[in-house]
């Protein structure tokens, strides 16, 4: 028995070592299919796009890679003299300044109402308000373009019955962007409502009970209990909403084609049209400007809303 134990121990010790190595190999085996796809179609393109933004790569160069020149920061310099691009940046800023607060505030209001305001039909309302979230933006944009038709649209028909002559929503430089903002908030509200509901339900009830005993009004409870405790949820909600809405493209693509007078042209739409013209290097530079804006805004939100 004892004599047997000695030769057995050494292989065991060796096997423990190799077990860890083998486990590492197995783990990378599990990871490999995703990692290969991710490297080719995500990580690779992120790097390639940055590299392309420093070149004059055009669609016609794909068959002739030697025709591509390194142009340094030329694309970026050109961008800020490009009136259409500057306009699209301004439009995107206006859009996000309108749509993000509208989405967040309405989502929080509905979540509060569903969480503590009412007792019945909660699921019914939650499902109803969530409907636009699951639908294709293209399809809802087509439907909204129909709703907003100047003469035959249902919105102006309703306004007419109360004696208001509705504007030519999407053809009017003044009303086109607000129309798109409202539609975007309409589509995005439901998701954030569910996010806020999850956040609200995680706030312990006894905090409210304590506030109640101290005589805090409902407003004071909201201001000094709900909002502070919702901070992490709020951070998540504004970051996700901002990242998504800064990239808007389907809404103007279908509803306005970027018009009237380029008033609804978004950065993403401009990238897409430059890609269509075959200006791959220039389009990549544009997309990186958008990326930087997204990162910058995310950092700002983290600074403002970071849990204390």
């Amino acid at each position: 028995m004892v004599a047997d134990a000695i030769p057995v121990r050494r292989p065991v010790a060796r096997r423990v070592l190799s077990l860890r190595a083998r486990r590492g190999l197995v783990a990378w085996g599990f990871a490999l299919p995703f990692v290969a796809l991710f490297a080719a179609f995500m990580a690779g393109p992120v790097v390639a796009s940055l590299a392309m933004s420093f070149t004059d790569l055009r669609g016609t160069d794909l068959r002739n890679p030697l025709g591509v020149n390194f142009v340094g920061l030329d694309n970026y310099v050109r961008l800020f003299g490009d009136e259409v691009f500057v306009q699209s940046l301004m439009n995107t800023a206006v859009f996000v300044l309108g749509s993000v607060p509208l989405t967040i505030v309405s989502a929080l209001a509905v979540a509060l109402a569903l969480n503590r305001g009412i007792t019945r039909l909660r699921t019914f309302f939650r499902v109803g308000y969530y409907l636009p979230v699951v639908t294709s933006i293209v399809a809802v944009a087509v439907v909204w373009r129909f709703l907003l038709q100047p003469d035959t649209g249902v919105v102006n028909s309703l306004l007419r019955t109360v004696g208001i002559a509705g504007p030519h929503w999407l053809d009017d430089p003044l009303f086109a962007m607000p129309s798109i903002i409202i539609m975007t908030a309409w589509r995005g509200m439901g998701f954030m409502m569910v996010v806020f509901l999850a956040g609200l339900q995680a706030i312990p009830r006894d905090v409210y009970e304590a506030a109640e005993i101290d005589g805090a009004s409902r407003w004071a409870q909201f201001r000094f209990v709900t909002l502070p405790m919702l901070r992490p949820t709020m951070l998540f909600a504004v970051v996700i909403t901002s990242i998504g809405q800064l990239q808007f493209i389907e809404e103007p693509f279908v509803m306005t084609r970027g018009g009237p007078l380029n008033k609804t042209l978004s950065v993403s739409m401009d990238v897409y049209s430059q890609f269509g013209f075959g200006n791959y290097g220039y389009a990549s530079a544009m997309s990186y400007v958008l990326f930087v804006v997204i990162v910058a805004l995310t950092v700002v939100w983290f600074r403002l809303l970071r849990p204390r």
Binding site: G24, I137, I243, I249
Partner: protein, 280 residues
């Protein structure tokens, strides 16, 4: 007995009224879309607007299914969404398991790298993706449509699966390892069955995301026989049919209605999915 304050009955009644009016604003456009799809074009142009269709007609659907090629677009959408979903389930559950339950070098970096891409706009990646797909000669093929959408859907799926599998008890896995089960066996026999709720959520979320994706099929599909529904609908709505709202509403019904039905039946999985990503 809780002392949790509830609004007074009249205030609560008012809240029901406000929420109901809001609901009309949220569900109303879909009702209007369906009603309009059954109206003849002439009725859609009439002022004042008719509410219910006066002459119910299937002409709009007949036109998009026979005159236009909606059966092809529908089939393409189903193929692409199904392929992306199956791929995502396999890839994300495998990597999710490795990240959650196996110690290996590079684990943290890999996770951060994957999650980090959630912040990257799809505009940044789509030009090189197109170049890559073109180099492989896959433009205007199903793989050319599927692979970029799969890469886009992946990071959120990995996050979801990793979070869910992390919560499963280690003892189950350890005892299986002691019994001599290989990692692949553990994955297939223990992890996959236990992760069914997460897989169900991932299925629905991925399918809908792929079904609704617009940009990638817009770029990768170059001829009509590879268009998916959103691409076809968008191009029709800005092309020569841009004011044929009867046709456009019928098209929108075909894009939206299957999704709405899936959602209403399976809505609890959506809420679960949001809870599963672990933030509160």
């Amino acid at each position: 007995m809780t002392v949790t304050p509830r609004p007074a009955p009249t205030a609560r009644g008012l809240l029901y009224v406000v929420l109901s009016i809001g609901l009309v604003g949220f569900a109303g456009p879909f009702v209007w879309m369906v009603l309009s799809a059954f109206k003849p074009e002439g009725e859609l142009r009439r002022v004042p607007t008719t509410w219910l269709p006066e002459n119910v007609t299937l002409d709009n659907f007949r036109t998009i299914f026979t005159g236009l090629d909606f059966p092809t677009y529908f089939t393409n959408s189903v193929i692409v969404a199904a392929a992306v979903t199956l791929g995502n389930l396999a890839l994300c559950s495998m990597l999710g398991y490795a990240l959650a339950k196996i110690e290996f070098p590079g684990r943290r970096v890999l996770f951060l790298l994957v999650i980090g891409t959630l912040m990257i706009p799809s505009m940044v990646t789509f030009v090189p993706q197109f170049v890559l797909v073109a180099q492989f000669g896959l433009v205007n093929t199903y793989p050319g449509l599927v692979l970029p959408i799969l890469a886009l859907a992946g990071p959120l799926g990995v996050f979801l699966m990793r979070q869910y599998i992390s919560e499963l008890p280690d003892e189950l896995i350890d005892s299986a390892r002691i019994d001599g089960a290989g990692e692949l066996q553990i994955f297939l026999r223990i992890i996959v069955p236990l992760a069914k709720p997460a897989l169900a959520t991932l299925t629905i979320v991925t399918f809908l995301g792929a079904w609704n994706n617009f940009l990638i099929p817009l770029v990768m599909a170059q001829t009509e026989d590879k268009y998916t529904l959103p691409v076809a609908l968008a191009l029709y709505s800005v092309g020569q049919n841009s004011t044929k709202f009867g046709l456009l509403m019928a098209g929108a019904v075909v894009v939206v209605l299957p999704v709405l039905l899936i959602f209403v039946v399976l809505q609890r999985y959506f809420v679960q999915g949001i809870a599963m990503t672990g933030f509160k």
